[in-house]
């Protein structure tokens, strides 16, 4: 042991506590079970994410001997401090601050997309705000809502908590959003107040995930889905991503980490989808294609081919794809050319499956339920449609699905479990773990190992690839061939690994990247975690639980995958597989045009 950690003793609301030096009052209070209200503070400790601009001033408390009130999120504990978090002075100050925040905030709560899940609305309720005295002196900002393929920004509703700015810049290093202008016009916006579409935004949706108000919301595609379901000429099928089943229950009051796979299937069937399928099937297919590509590159590399690009980068995450197209276009031949599970599913649904059930692709509507907002953009990419008809027509988030189920007054808690439909609902445990960081590469290892060595795996769980650390690495023994694996989640972490690839320092054979902290389970389309990383951990545990219960846990053992190759695709990376299941990437970096 090194030297003892220095601690300080203080009392908060008459309770004594000893905490390490440098602990904020806010955190010390939390240890005592005192939840101080806040609008801007956010802390995901296991993911090293913290936002404490001390900006909202809701979390103030009285500190004996101090003249003004202290913002507890950014005031450190000191020896002998006496803190009171709910004196009348504190409560009055919180109300006044709240009245100021609300003075230039629209009061259209009835029709706001955030209504019901809005932290600002909840705070106004909590503090018992009944009038907004300063409103007649405040100026409303003049920002027009900005709609991109995934995200809507309504800056009138921005309260400058700057959580989105922290996510976009510090965590994701995307730098699309920054605090701009001053006074009533202050807001968080892209450069030159351009639309998000013209910024470096990757649509990862982490800004939406942490926004306490209706300033940042997803583009709601449920009206289009409803329209398709109501149209008797359309066959409407749905695919659900692995991370959705591990979080959907939270929107219905279930404990985080509750798996609702069977209930979700039952709900989707009750909503009127003609076939309820699983993106996990697409994930299994991704592993067949990506795993084969990885082995092919490694074999060529071992045989001395110097043109082969290693490491192979996974390509299932659309936020990540947008990121490297923007920031690393020089490396666009490094990622796997395999499409994402969502798009593989769509491509097979609108070819093989459409032919099977004798429906024209124009009359087959493919809907995806995703934990993600970038998936909305991905399915709108031009290269993923045939004659203007998309492979995946609409992508809706876990949150949108929850709202949809509630609208249909279905009681998710009490639905009987149902099974996915065949054939595109068949999947293995390998497909399920795609939802958590490390899962894609673990699934790939399970299949690539057996393909490469011709031997059965002794143990299926590659626990060395799991965990929540931002950048991880492990070496997997492929029967004498040591395979170096890198894993990053969060785009800032991915950037570190990419910088090494660019400079030639990277020693990895394969790198898995997921744009969102925690992987898809922490996606921008999931129910809000409100800064509680226990929720993300519980979702990950649920994913691995579902995997361990599956009778089949390796993608290449999925009987329908085997059949699909026999009947339709030939073999992995065949010409037909390439045509349907692979894609290419584009250079999206802004260039300086030199005027003549």
């Amino acid at each position: 042991m090194g030297k003892m950690m220095e601690t300080v003793r203080l009392t908060i609301d008459n309770k004594e506590i000893e905490v390490p030096k440098g602990t904020t009052i806010y955190k010390a209070a939390k240890q005592l079970g005192i939840e101080i209200p806040t609008l801007c503070y956010l802390h995901l400790d296991d993911l090293n994410i913290e936002n404490k601009p001390g900006g909202c001033r809701i979390c103030v408390a009285e500190v004996q001997g101090r003249r003004n009130l202290a913002p507890t999120c950014s005031t450190n504990c000191e020896n002998g401090m006496v803190v009171k978090t709910h004196t009348t002075r504190v409560l009055n100050a919180r109300r006044t601050v709240m009245e100021f925040i609300l003075s230039d905030h629209p009061t259209d709560c009835l029709v706001c997309p955030k209504s019901g899940t809005c932290e600002l609305q909840n705070m106004a309720h909590l503090l018992g705000i009944r009038e907004i005295p300063g409103a007649e002196y405040a100026e409303m900002s003049k920002y027009k809502p900005d709609t991109s393929p995934s995200i809507i920004r309504d800056l009138d509703k921005c309260i400058m908590c700057r959580r989105c700015e922290m996510m976009c810049n510090d965590v994701q290093t995307v730098g699309a959003l920054s605090a701009v202008n001053r006074g009533f016009m202050a807001a968080v916006a892209p450069a030159f107040e351009q639309n998000l579409e013209h910024s470096t935004c990757t649509y990862c949706g982490q800004c939406v995930a942490v926004c306490p108000t209706g300033a940042l919301t997803e583009v709601d595609h449920t009206p289009e889905v409803l329209r398709a379901l109501a149209d008797p000429t359309k066959t409407v099928i749905v695919q659900t991503a692995p991370a959705v089943r591990a979080a959907l229950g939270e929107a219905f009051g279930m404990a985080p980490g509750t798996l609702v796979t069977g209930k979700m299937v039952a709900a989707l069937r009750a909503l009127g989808f003609d076939y309820v399928f699983d993106t996990d099937f697409g994930a299994d297919l991704t592993i067949m294609e990506e795993g084969t590509e990885l082995l092919d590159r490694i074999k060529r590399h071992l045989s001395g081919d110097t043109t082969v690009r290693l490491p192979l980068l996974t390509s299932c995450c659309p936020g990540w794809v947008n990121f490297f197209e923007e920031y690393f276009p020089d490396l666009k031949d490094v990622p796997s050319s395999a499409k994402s599970p969502q798009q593989m599913f769509g491509a097979i649904a609108k070819s093989y499956f459409a032919e099977k059930i004798k429906v024209d692709r124009e009359n087959l509507v493919v809907v995806s339920i995703m934990p993600c907002l970038a998936k909305k953009y991905e399915c709108q990419r031009e290269e993923f449609s045939v004659n203007g008809n998309r492979d995946v027509d609409y992508s809706i988030s876990t949150r949108e699905l929850a709202a949809f189920i509630k609208q249909a007054n279905l009681d998710l808690n009490n639905l009987e479990d149902e099974e996915f439909d065949a054939p595109l609902g068949e999947s293995t445990g390998a497909g399920v773990i795609f939802g958590a960081t490390g899962g894609v590469i673990e699934a790939a290892c399970r299949t690539a190992y057996e393909m490469y060595t011709g031997k059965k795996l002794d143990r299926i769980d590659f626990t060395e690839l799991r965990g929540l650390e931002g950048v991880r690495s492990a070496t997997i023994d492929f029967d004498g061939l040591p395979l170096n694996i890198g894993i990053a989640h969060g785009l800032g972490n991915a950037r570190k690994l990419l910088d090494d690839v660019r400079s030639g320092k990277s020693q990895f054979h394969a790198i898995e990247v997921m744009a969102c902290p925690g992987g898809c389970i922490g996606g921008g389309g999931q129910p809000a975690h409100h800064g509680n990383s226990e929720i993300i951990k519980a979702r990950a545990a649920a994913i691995y639980r579902e995997d361990s219960k599956k009778p089949l846990r390796k993608s290449h053992e999925n009987p329908f995958i085997i059949k699909l190759y026999e009947e339709y695709l030939g073999h992995p990376n065949s010409e037909k597989a390439h045509h349907l299941l692979h894609t290419r990437y584009f250079d999206k970096k802004k260039k300086v045009i030199v005027k003549q």
Binding site: N169, V174, G175, A176, L177, S178, A179, V180, N181, R182, A189, P190, A191, F192, E193, Q194, N195, E197, H198, S199, T200, K590, K591, V592, I593, V594, K595
Partner: protein, 160 residues
């Protein structure tokens, strides 16, 4: 707002690069880089900010955030004769606001704007350190002290 094209003359691109290099392309020096670029170009159009961004790796949104935060920086070109009215405490209490109103009326301009012919631009600043002369107006390098609203017409005449 739709997408901004980054169109610049090669010599301007070179100049921005030269300025950034002189500050070691250091993101910590952003404000100094912006100062130097504004001194050279007279203002900081989007294109200039984009090039500074690619040279320093500071996201252009953050650069725009800095430019819109500090009133010293401007994204509109200054006029041939930039007019600055001091709104510091001393000038303010001695009637600077009325002087500013007079300039606005005479030139039909708002603060931060430039006349269509590019001749005059109007801005306010905070204390030039000549409080004894309050209220103070600067036009280019020339300082006018004890300016009364009635003097404004005459002052503008000097530049017509």
């Amino acid at each position: 707002m739709s997408s901004i094209k980054i169109e610049l003359r090669q010599e301007d691109v070179n100049k921005i690069k030269e300025i950034c290099t002189s500050f070691n392309n250091d993101p910590q020096e952003l404000i100094n880089i912006l100062h130097s670029c504004q001194e050279h170009f007279g203002y900081l159009p989007a294109e200039v900010q984009e090039v500074i961004s690619s040279e320093t790796d500071v996201p252009v949104a953050q650069i725009y955030g800095v430019v819109t935060f500090y009133s010293f920086f401007t994204m509109t070109p200054k006029g041939k004769h930039p007019i600055s009215i001091c709104m510091g405490t001393a000038c303010y209490v001695r009637g600077a606001e009325k002087v500013l109103e007079e300039f606005k009326k005479e030139l039909n301009l708002q603060v931060g704007q430039t006349t269509k012919d590019g001749k005059f631009s109007l801005s306010n600043l905070r204390c030039v350190g000549a409080c004894g002369l309050a209220p103070v107006v600067l036009i280019g390098d020339k300082t006018y002290g004890r300016v009364a609203p009635d003097d404004v017409k005459k002052i503008i005449k000097e530049y017509e």
